[in-house]
Amino acid sequence: MVKLEKIEYKPISVRDLLIEIKDLSELMIDLAYSAALFNSKELAGEVLELEERVDTLVYLINMNVMIAVRDAQDAELLVGVSVVASAADKISNASADIASLVLKDIGIHPIVRQAFEKAEEHLIRVKIAQNSILAGKLLDKLELAAKIGVDVIAIRRNKQWMINPKSEKLQKGDILIVRGAPHGIEEMKGVAEGTIMKLEE
């Protein structure tokens, strides 16, 4: 039997929900293409995790919109919100389809690499190891962009996602989605996995 999360109405600001769904859907496209480019099942797995979250968000947005509508004028003003939520859901589903290609070993023809690798920046997924110097540090204090030229664009802690994190305190076991030039990304991987114990400038 398919087990799906039970969704209950929660009074959350539609604005906050929209910001989250828009950010997540755009992150998913980037992650999915990166998963295809590097044939990475790890990145593909993250895309599927995010898809679940986006599905939940669409329900919550629609429920909150329904409650907010009192008359025809409200309906006209708010229908756009539902359209955007469903478009973000479509993007999320398309990204999940790309991820499934990778997970089901359908295989991505090597020329895909040729098509996509012109992008100068790459994405990876890293997990913070127990002995990593990142554990316990505040993200903004690490100055990763200045030091090694990478940005942490998302953090996943168990089921919870933080998109565009700023001053988050990193913990061991956190999954980081990192964007940057190939060299910086390699270094970031070592730092997160605890094989590099110092951030080189």
Partner: protein, 191 residues
């Protein structure tokens, strides 16, 4: 052998074009909603038609590439990737249609887009602007203003710019970033 490689390069380029066009459509679609701009929304619809043609050309190229049975999985992957770019493009077209149907967006939609992408600004390059004649790499717009250039419209065509794109007078630039950057960008684009 070179014939086969050429064909692969053509397929790869076509796929890159599909991917770039679909992502440009999403950016423009949100911009049209935020700026309540019918012209930008119309561009998204034009790009959607362009996508349909590109997608057909791409599928024909893949199907006529003469692959061996054992390679069919790889080629199936290509076809599926093409389909997803098309779905992403459709999502962009749907967002832009809200504007084309004359529906005023609720303020929360605008604040959400502004906060998610910070803000989207549209500027036109004036005749005396210091940007004219520079490539985007030379212009250092992101370094100067904090704004990322999403799209440039020239001769009625929107393109997703490359670092080597040379800025010309009358170009319309759409950029996203923090609101402080918007003024700085306007200053750069004016004479």
């Amino acid at each position: 052998m070179t014939g086969k490689e050429d064909r692969f390069t053509t397929i790869a380029n076509k796929l890159a074009e599909l991917k770039n066009t679909s992502e440009l459509m999403i950016d423009l679609a949100y911009s049209s909603l935020l700026l309540n701009n019918v012209r930008i929304a119309e561009e998204v619809q034009t790009l959607e038609e362009h996508m349909d043609d590109l997608h057909t050309e791409f599928e024909q190229l893949v199907l006529s590439s003469g692959f061996k049975p054992e390679e069919s999985k790889h080629f199936l992957g290509l076809i599926r990737l093409g389909v997803t770019t098309e779905q992403i493009a459709d999502a962009g077209a749907e967002i832009a249609q809200v504007v084309l149907r004359g529906l005023q967006s609720h303020p929360i939609l605008k604040t959400a887009i502004e906060e998610a992408e910070e803000t989207v600004a549209q500027v036109q390059v004036a005749s005396g602007s210091s940007l004219i004649g520079k490539t985007l790499r030379q212009a250092q717009i992101h370094e100067e203003t904090g704004m990322w250039i999403l799209a440039i419209k020239r001769n009625n065509i929107w393109t997703r710019p490359k670092p080597s794109t040379v800025i010309k007078e009358s170009d319309i630039i759409i950029a996203s970033g923090y609101s402080e950057g918007e003024e700085a960008l306007e200053a750069l684009a004016s004479s």
